[in-house]
Point group: C2
Chain length 231, copies 2
């Protein structure tokens, strides 16, 4: 086997989700000793402007800072990049313009997993900005999968829960309320639920639902390790 | 409050210990929203040569690679650095020669915590290289604390356990055996036990022992956050 590629993570949106991605990458590598693990460079920069506000047109764009982070990760030795935030993929063009290495998309990895699952109708739990930028509906449309989203009132509840997770609350009440939002999509015919925001898997597991949860963090972990190791 | 400093982590030795440090830094920051968290840059490079072999004179030095990582973290915007590995502090001179920003030492943070605890005899669970480089006995001597170490047979068992943790085994058997090594130091009069290897806290908690465990990862987290925020 040739030397595996070095992975760069544009993270910090939020930090707990970046910890989760990092921990899952390490756990999934299945190495016997330090030296068998991947080299991973992380820019955990929680201080980039709010993505949802930028997409709604009510705040500055995080594009320039994300592009700068990407450039610095490439300079530090990353062979390819990932973004530890679904919504931030709305700024993928800014990032790709700043680098000459590949960006492995969490949206594509997750949409592929949804398509492979065979579900024709898939519920998508995504942040306002991720929805506003049409990241998942477009990716699903290309794969012949119908995306179901929360209605306006439910979406407001969803964003409230995401901000509670970001503030460190992953307790049973937040879990129960997230599960109940997922179940409204199931009631509307969703055959799978995509946790399309990296905070969601911190409070929602497949065990809690009647249909499978497709976890965007897990989908990215699988794809990134395959990309790094050429397996 | 002025803008907090950006922290750079020289990590990957091993990766699970770096995840642990990163997770504890995020949890200890106590932020309400992403933007209140620290910016943290991580070079998780598990591919640096084995520190214990280098200190024993049986392998190449990781000094040049650690120095290069430190330089790259400074260039990427780190205002100060930490090393997520006690043993790697043996190469602190190589690292400091490569940078113009401060390196906040895990050894000093931990030794200060041991001294403040009031224990005059402290058991130290440290890897071969950390012992060979005399990192803790010197730091303790300066603070008037007596360091107690495992005997040769126990130390071999300790290294075996550390490598099991690095291979992902944090199960009850490893926990029980680590606890029993800590108890031999307690039996010899240790009034506290220092978890002086970042893998140890993954399998040993204060609850398991009759004396307090001083956790080098926690000591570093407290000091790094204070340094970053000026509090």
């Amino acid at each position: 086997m040739s030397e595996p590629k070095t992975l760069g993570i544009i993270g910090g949106m939020g930090p707990a989700a970046t910890v989760d991605l990092f921990a899952k990458l390490i756990a999934a590598t299945g190495a016997e000793r330090d030296q068998d693990h991947l080299r991973i460079l992380i820019d955990n920069n929680p201080r980039v402007p709010n993505r949802n506000d930028a997409i709604a047109g009510t705040g500055p764009s995080p594009g320039p800072q994300l592009a700068a982070a990407a450039r610095a990760l490439q300079q530090a030795g990353a062979d390819f990049l990932v973004i530890a935030c679904n919504t931030a993929h709305a700024f993928q063009p800014d990032i790709e313009a700043a680098i000459t290495i590949p960006l492995v998309s969490m949206i594509e990895a997750t949409a592929d997993e949804a398509a492979v699952s065979g579900a024709d109708r898939v519920g998508v739990l995504a942040a306002d900005g991720c929805r506003g930028a049409h990241l998942y509906d477009r990716a699903f449309e290309q794969r012949g999968v119908t995306a179901l989203f929360l209605d306006e009132v439910q979406q407001a509840e969803f964003m409230h829960l995401i901000f509670r997770v970001k503030a460190g609350d992953v307790g049973v009440e937040v879990q129960r309320r997230m599960q109940s939002l997922a179940n409204t999509l199931y009631a509307r015919g969703a055959k799978a639920i995509v946790a399309a925001c990296t905070e969601v898997p911190l409070v929602l597991s497949s065990d809690a639902l009647a249909v499978p949860v497709i976890n965007s963090t897990d989908a990215l972990v699988t794809r990134a390790i395959a990309f790094a190791t050429g397996r």
